[in-house]
Amino acid sequence: MVGATRGMGRALARLMAERGDALVLLGRDAADLEASARDLAARGARGFVATARLDLAEPAGFASALDAADRALGAFDTLVVTAADSAQQETLARDPARLGRLLDVNFTATAVLCQQAAERLAGRGGGAVCAFSSVAGDRARRSNYLYGASKAGLSAFLEGLHLAYADRGVRVICVRPGFVKTAMTAGLPVPPFAGEPDAVAWVVLRAIDRGTPVVYAPPIWRWVMLAIRLLPRAVMRRVRF
C-alpha cells in the first residue's frame, strides 16, 4: 500500500489488517510508516505488517520498492495506491513548478507504478491493482481542473490497464472518491454527500475483493457525477462550482 499512513489509506489498511491480510506499507517518512505499522499490528492483525521506502516523486525507486514488498510477503498479490498530491487551485495556477510536481505525482508516477505492478502480477498469474483517482477527474470544473486533470488522466490510464490485463488475471480497480472528510479536505467547505473515510474503506475493500473496475465512494457520487457529466459545457460555464 502506498498512502496507508493517512486518511482513506489509513482506514483501508486497518480493515485489511483486522481481517488478517499481510501488508507492506510503502512511503517516504520512515518514522511515520513505522508508527502506522505498529498501529496495524496492535489492532490484532493476524497477518503481518512491514514497511519499505517509496517516494512517488522518484519513479527510479519503484522497482526496488516492489522488490522489497515481494521479499517481505513472499510475493504480493495486490497493490493499493491511495497517496496523491493536492493543493489549492490558486497555488497551482500561480506556480508552474508546483503544478508540474502535482501532475507528475498524481498521473505520471502513479501510472508508472501501477503499470510496473500489473506487469509483475500478470507474470505470476494475476492479482489486483487498486488506485485512488477522484470524481474531480470525471468532469473538469473551473475551480478544480488542474487537480482534476491529473485524476482524469489517471482514470483513463486505469481503464486501459483494466482492459489490457483482464485476460492475464489482473483486476484493476479505479476508486473515485467524492468529497471525503480527511485531513486533505480539511478547511474546505463541506458539500452535500460528503463521506467518512471508514465508510469509503468498506466500499473499496469490497470492490478490491470482487474486482469492480470503477467504484464511487460514497456510492451516491456515481449518480451525482452522472448528472454533472451530462451538463452541457454552456451550463458548466455559467454555474460557479
Partner: protein
C-alpha cells in the same frame, strides 16, 4: 505542518456538548499533532464531549486543534495490557479493538466518545471512583508538545510536576500527543448489574457507601424533581464485570444508533412533562425490581448479564441527545462535596434546584474515593452530584452561582469538564491547589499559549 498551513481554515462554530456557549474557531483536524510556528494561541480539543466552554476557543477565530484524527495505537503489551497511543484515540475504538481480547479502560466516563487525551486533560472519573480513583492514576507516561513547539515527556516519576499539572489540567499545559495507560483485564464484555429503588436521599447515600464495599461500580440516578420526603429518591445501581461462566457465550451485538434529528421544542423541557418523565423512570424501575424479587429466585438465578455499553453508556445509544435540550442548549452542573459536609449539603443543593423550578432529566449521584495528587483533579472523597439545567440565560447562571455558594461553604468544588459559568473568584475558593498549578503552568507556558474560553473565564487569561 502542511496540514495546518496549506489548508486555509475557514471559521466554524465551536461549542461543548451542552451547546452553550458557542464561539467561532479556526478548526484544524490534523493527523499529526504539531503546533503551528509563531506562537499563535492554540486550544487542543478532542471529541467535544466536555459540556461547557473547556474546548471552546478563547477568542473569535482562534485556532482549535482537534486531535481525533491522531488515533494510532503505538504499542500494546498483550501480557500487561499497557497501551501506548496517540492522544486522539477514542475509548470507543479501544473498546472495539481491545474488549474482545479481554481488556477494558481502567476508568470510563459516561460516554465512550471521548479521546484518551481528553480523558487525561479532564482526569475523568467513572462509576468505580470509590475503588479505583480517576483516569490519571492509570497513566504511566505522557508526551506533550509544549508552547515552544518542543516535545517533553512526563509521568508519575519523570517531570512529575508537569505530569500532575497536565492530568486534569484541561489541555492548558501543552498539547498531549501520546499517552501510555494501563487497561484492566476483564473476563467478558458483559456486566452483572443490580438496581434497586431508594426512597430518599439518606437511603441513597447509605446505599452507595454500602454497595461500594463489595461492588466495583456504583451509581445512583435521582429524580431531582421529587420534593419533601421523596427528595433524593431514585435508583441505586451496582455493577461488576461478568465472569466467563456468567457471561453468554457470544459477545453483545452492536445495536443501530438512533439520531435525534432536530432540536427539541422548549415546552417539552418545562417542569410538568419533565416531572412525568422522571417519575415514570423511577416507578418503572421500582416495579421491575419488585417483580424480579417476587419471582422464584432459585429457578431464575441472579439477573441476566447486560452488555457493557448499556451499563456504562446508556446515552451513547442516542446520537446527538444533547439536542433534546432545545436550541439554547443546557448546562451540566457537577459538583463534589466532602464526606464531612454529608447529606445536608447534598439536600440543600437538590432543594435549590427544585425551588428554582428548572427542569432536568434524572440527576446522577455517586460517592468518590480519595482525591488524586493532580492539582486540578476534580474528585475528592465525598459525594458528587451531576444534573442538567436547560440554559435559560441569566436565570440559569444565577442558579449555578447559588449552587456554587453552597458547594464552597461545604468545602467542595465543581468539575471544569462540565462547567460553563463559574466565576474566577468562586473557582479560586474551591481549589486550594490552584496557586501550585499556576506556578507549574507558568514555567512551561509563560505566555499562556494554550488557552480556552474557560481559562479566560476561570483563570483570567487574556482572550
Amino acid at each position: 505542518m502542511a496540514d495546518l498551513e496549506s489548508a486555509g481554515l475557514s471559521l466554524e462554530p465551536v461549542a461543548g456538548w451542552g451547546r452553550h456557549p458557542i464561539e467561532q474557531g479556526a478548526v484544524a483536524r490534523p493527523e499529526r499533532l504539531l503546533l503551528p510556528p509563531g506562537g499563535r494561541p492554540v486550544l487542543p480539543r478532542g471529541l467535544g464531549r466536555s459540556y461547557g466552554d473547556a474546548a471552546v476557543p478563547a477568542a473569535p477565530g482562534a485556532l482549535v486543534l482537534e486531535t481525533a484524527r491522531a488515533d494510532r495505537v503505538l504499542a500494546f503489551d498483550r501480557e500487561r495490557g499497557t497501551l501506548t497511543c496517540e492522544a486522539g484515540l477514542s475509548l470507543a475504538e479501544i473498546l472495539r479493538v481491545f474488549l474482545p481480547r479481554g481488556w477494558f479502560p481502567p476508568v470510563t466516563p459516561g460516554t465512550k466518545f471521548v479521546t484518551v487525551g481528553g480523558c487525561v486533560a479532564c482526569d475523568v472519573h467513572g462509576k468505580n471512583h470509590h475503588r479505583d480513583g480517576s483516569f490519571g492514576r492509570f497513566v504511566d507516561h505522557l508526551v506533550l508538545r509544549i508552547a515552544d513547539g518542543s516535545v517533553v515527556e512526563c509521568g508519575p516519576t519523570r517531570e512529575r510536576e508537569l505530569f500532575l499539572a497536565t492530568v486534569g489540567g484541561m489541555g492548558l499545559t501543552g498539547l498531549i500527543t501520546e499517552v501510555t495507560l494501563r487497561l484492566q483485564p476483564v473476563d467478558s464484555a458483559w456486566m452483572v448489574v443490580e438496581s434497586e429503588p431508594v426512597p430518599g436521599l439518606g437511603a441513597m447515600l447509605d446505599g452507595l457507601r454500602d454497595a461500594g464495599k463489595d461492588w466495583p461500580y456504583t451509581v445512583g440516578w435521582i429524580d431531582c424533581l421529587a420534593r419533601g420526603a421523596a427528595l433524593g429518591r431514585g435508583i441505586l445501581m451496582r455493577g461488576r464485570h461478568a465472569s466467563r461462566t456468567e457471561a453468554p457465550a457470544v459477545p453483545p451485538r452492536e445495536p443501530r444508533r438512533l439520531e435525534v434529528p432536530l432540536d427539541a421544542p422548549e415546552w417539552l423541557l418545562s417542569p410538568i412533562p419533565m416531572r412525568g418523565f422522571n417519575a415514570a423512570y423511577y416507578w418503572k424501575h421500582a416495579w421491575w425490581s419488585h417483580a424480579r424479587r417476587s419471582r422464584a429466585r432459585p429457578t431464575r438465578g441472579p439477573a441476566q448479564p447486560v452488555p457493557c455499553r448499556s451499563f456504562f453508556y446508556p446515552l451513547d445509544a442516542i446520537g446527538g441527545w444533547n439536542r433534546l435540550y432545545g436550541r439554547r442548549g443546557f448546562l451540566q452542573y457537577q459538583c463534589v462535596v466532602p464526606r464531612a459536609a454529608g447529606p445536608p449539603a447534598v439536600a440543600e443543593l437538590l432543594e435549590r434546584v427544585v425551588e428554582a423550578g428548572t427542569a432536568s432529566f434524572l440527576a446522577v449521584i455517586k460517592d468518590c474515593g480519595p482525591e488524586s495528587d493532580a492539582y486540578l483533579s476534580f474528585p475528592l472523597e465525598g459525594t458528587t452530584l451531576a444534573l442538567d439545567l436547560p440554559y435559560r440565560g441569566l436565570r440559569t447562571e444565577a442558579l449555578v452561582h447559588e449552587l456554587n455558594a453552597t458547594v464552597i461553604a461545604a468545602g467542595g468544588r465543581v468539575y471544569l469538564a462540565k462547567d460553563a459559568v463559574t466565576r474566577a473568584q468562586d473557582f479560586a475558593l474551591m481549589v486550594p491547589r490552584l496557586a501550585e498549578w499556576r506556578k507549574v503552568r507558568d514555567r512551561w507556558d509563560p505566555e499562556h499559549r494554550f488557552r480556552s474560553a474557560q481559562s479566560v473565564r476561570v483563570l483570567g487569561d487574556t482572550p
